[in-house]
């Protein structure tokens, strides 16, 4: 009966109730949307780090200063990862595989014929074994490991993203897709740099063919078979001894990553795992969530003030009705309950409405943004991750907010003198 009464009372003052509910709906929708966006971005960032899969990887590299590490600069220090270190890492318990990555030890450029023009850009040359890029390279192990020029070459698909995002739109150039670049011939120019032209000395040209794109290969260069890089290094540096830029270590389970990491650190090398980066990202996103959440809370606080205002006005308007209820035997508590129940219904409706609007807006924004990112090869499946628990919390929060902000008006209504209210 109370519920019916409350619903009827709300229905009798539809416009005001709807306006108040809209206030809460907007607050809750923004809360839901902002938390979902933050979670979605966090998930996307984590997926980007883990390549959408394993978090059982470690990257071993010579120790570098914090700044260099933070800026993701290449570790070209004195310390070297020798084949002996490679074997030692391989022998650490729980390590299932180790893939070395080699770099051509001097400047290098890449030349490409594109739309009738010869373009040249600085590009480092990296070498990896077949197993490391097996997922991205369509050819056989044989064709990678025993390759002769033109070497099969992979580039990071982030390069295409950077081009499509920054260079193409500002220079009025067309977008590239992976298909546009697949199979084109490129020329690698060891020891040549467009930045330092005087360094060029060999004039050697190494043929290569772009055969694929990878998330795992370095963004600042082209990746070819490791044997080819070794050969280039030996040819161009008489003092060259085998060493690696990094080792990509696969651990048998996530639980053992820390163990292996410690063992590698004990060898005197750096070992970074996606877990660390994920933790840093999670921490950053928690801060972002807090910031976005605070904005929503301000919106909700304003909505709360609207609730208080609505209920104060309602009490003043309904004084006579309160008087009748009191004459018919309603206690102060009954009067308070009537108003608080109305607030609960408005809070519930606002909460549910907010979640529905939030999710619809999220889906709409998701589609719009992802459509706008159509030319980007690496993009998350969804930018908004809606957590049912957050929704449940939002509804509860909305109801509690309504009750809190209507409590004083409800108490005021309950304390009205019955006769005065009746005669109003």
């Amino acid at each position: 009966m109370y519920l019916r009464l409350a619903i009827r009372n709300i229905a009798n003052r539809k416009t005001r109730a709807i306006l108040t509910t809209i206030g809460i709906t907007i607050g809750i929708a923004s809360l839901i949307l902002m938390v979902a966006l933050s979670k979605g971005l966090e998930k996307a960032a984590v997926q980007n780090i883990t390549g959408g899969g394993s978090i059982t990887k470690l990257t071993v590299q010579p120790k570098v200063e914090k700044v260099a590490k933070a800026l993701n600069l290449l570790p070209l220090g004195q310390q070297k990862i020798t084949p002996e270190i490679f074997v030692q890492v391989q022998n650490i318990q729980h390590v299932t595989s180790v893939y070395p990555e080699m770099i051509y030890g001097n400047f290098s450029s890449m030349q490409i014929s594109w739309m009738g023009e010869n373009l040249q850009t600085d590009m480092m040359i990296f070498g990896v074994p077949y197993e490391f890029i097996a997922g991205d390279y369509k050819g056989s192990k044989e064709s990678w490991d025993n390759a002769a020029p033109p070497y099969p070459a992979l580039i990071s698909n982030k390069i295409i993203d950077i081009y499509n995002f920054t260079i193409a739109p500002t220079s009025g150039l067309p977008f590239f897709t992976q298909n546009d670049l697949s199979g084109i011939d490129v020329t690698l120019l060891p020891d040549e740099s467009t930045f330092f032209p005087q360094t060029g000395k060999t004039q050697e040209q190494v043929g290569a063919k772009l055969v694929g794109f990878s998330n795992q290969t370095s963004i600042v260069g082209v990746t070819i078979p490791i044997e080819a890089v070794r050969k280039l290094n030996r040819q161009h540096n008489p003092n060259y001894t085998d060493s690696y830029l990094r080792l990509h270590v696969q651990v048998d389970s996530a639980d053992n990553v820390e163990y292996v990491r410690e063992k590698i650190l004990a060898l005197g090398f750096d070992a970074t795992s996606p877990v660390e980066e994920i933790n840093t990202i999670a921490e950053n996103f928690r801060t972002i969530q807090l910031g976005l959440g605070s904005v929503s809370l301000i919106i909700l606080f304003v909505a709360g003030l609207m609730i208080a205002n609505t209920f104060f006005s309602a009490v003043m308007e309904r004084k006579h009705e309160i008087g009748i209820y009191r004459a018919l035997g309603a206690t102060r508590r009954h009067i308070k309950q009537i108003f608080l129940l109305e607030a609960t219904i408005i809070g519930l409706a606002g909460g549910i409405g907010g979640i529905v609007i939030g999710i619809i807006a999220g889906l709409f924004l998701n589609k719009s943004i992802l459509d706008a990112l159509a030319n980007i090869s690496i993009k998350p499946g969804t930018l908004f991750v809606f957590d049912p628990l957050v929704s449940l919390f939002a509804i509860l929060f909305s109801v509690i907010l309504s009750i809190i902000f209507s409590y004083i008006p409800a108490t005021f209504a309950a304390r009205l003198d019955p006769l005065e209210a009746f005669q109003d």
């Binding site: 019916r4 009827r8 009798n12 009748i324 004459a327």
Partner: protein, 224 residues
């Protein structure tokens, strides 16, 4: 039994004191049908509000069934109004947002204990509305029925908790004379049937004549 001893009520407006009732002494027996007659401003409505526990006297004592009701705490007064008193007002005071049946259910909603069970509430209300001849108007809103029907619904609402005393403030004041007489007829009929004590306040001597006893009030004092 309803007993008022030396009851006075004075209202204060700024520095001015306005006496509404002066030393009222009155006894009404259980099951009596009494009319309090007097002109506008004579204090008859104030007297009704005091008996109904909506207001408290400035001095004196009001006893209902040997229990002093002035000085009761708000919660107890609410309970008294809900269980012992039924109010009928001149302008019906039905809730426009509720239908006739729901309006009658309101006092039961505020009643404590087993009376509050939904099924019981509805059954009782339907029964009362049948007794006042509104069984075919249950789902109508107050705006959809006539003045006489509204007052019948209000009477059903006043009686739904089986009160000991029904207080009616100008129950025919907003009705034409024919409908007014029909309402008084209904009250008489229900009085005979339920044995509820009925106190009617009116300025209309013709209506007051329907009561078993008439009390005349002028300038806050009982004159006869």
């Amino acid at each position: 039994m309803l007993q008022l001893t030396n009851v006075s009520k004075t209202y204060h407006v700024g520095d001015e004191s306005i006496p509404a009732l002066k030393n009222i002494n009155l006894e009404i027996d259980d099951g009596e049908f009494v009319a309090i007659e007097g002109p506008s401003g004579s204090g008859k409505s104030t007297l009704l509000h005091l008996i109904g526990g909506l207001d408290t006297p400035t001095s004196g004592e009001i006893k209902v069934n040997r229990k002093i009701i002035n000085g009761l705490k708000d919660r107890e007064l609410s309970k008294y109004r809900n269980r012992e008193i039924g109010f009928v007002f001149q302008d019906f005071q039905l809730q426009s947002g509720l239908n006739v049946l729901e309006n009658v259910e309101v006092p039961l909603m505020f009643a404590t204990g087993r009376k509050r069970r939904e099924a019981t509430i509805e059954k009782k209300s339907r029964e009362l509305l049948k007794n006042v001849g509104l069984e075919d108007r249950l789902a109508h809103r107050p705006t959809e029925i006539s003045g006489g029907q509204k007052q019948r619904a209000a009477i059903a609402r006043a009686l739904v908790n089986k009160p000991k005393i029904l207080l009616a403030d100008e129950p025919t004041g907003n009705l034409d004379s024919v409908t007014g007489r029909a309402i008084i007829g209904l009250l008489r009929h229900l009085h005979a049937r339920e044995k509820t004590t009925m106190v009617i306040v009116t300025h209309d001597r013709d209506i007051a004549k329907y009561a078993d006893r008439m009390i005349h009030i002028r300038d806050g004092q009982i004159i006869k």
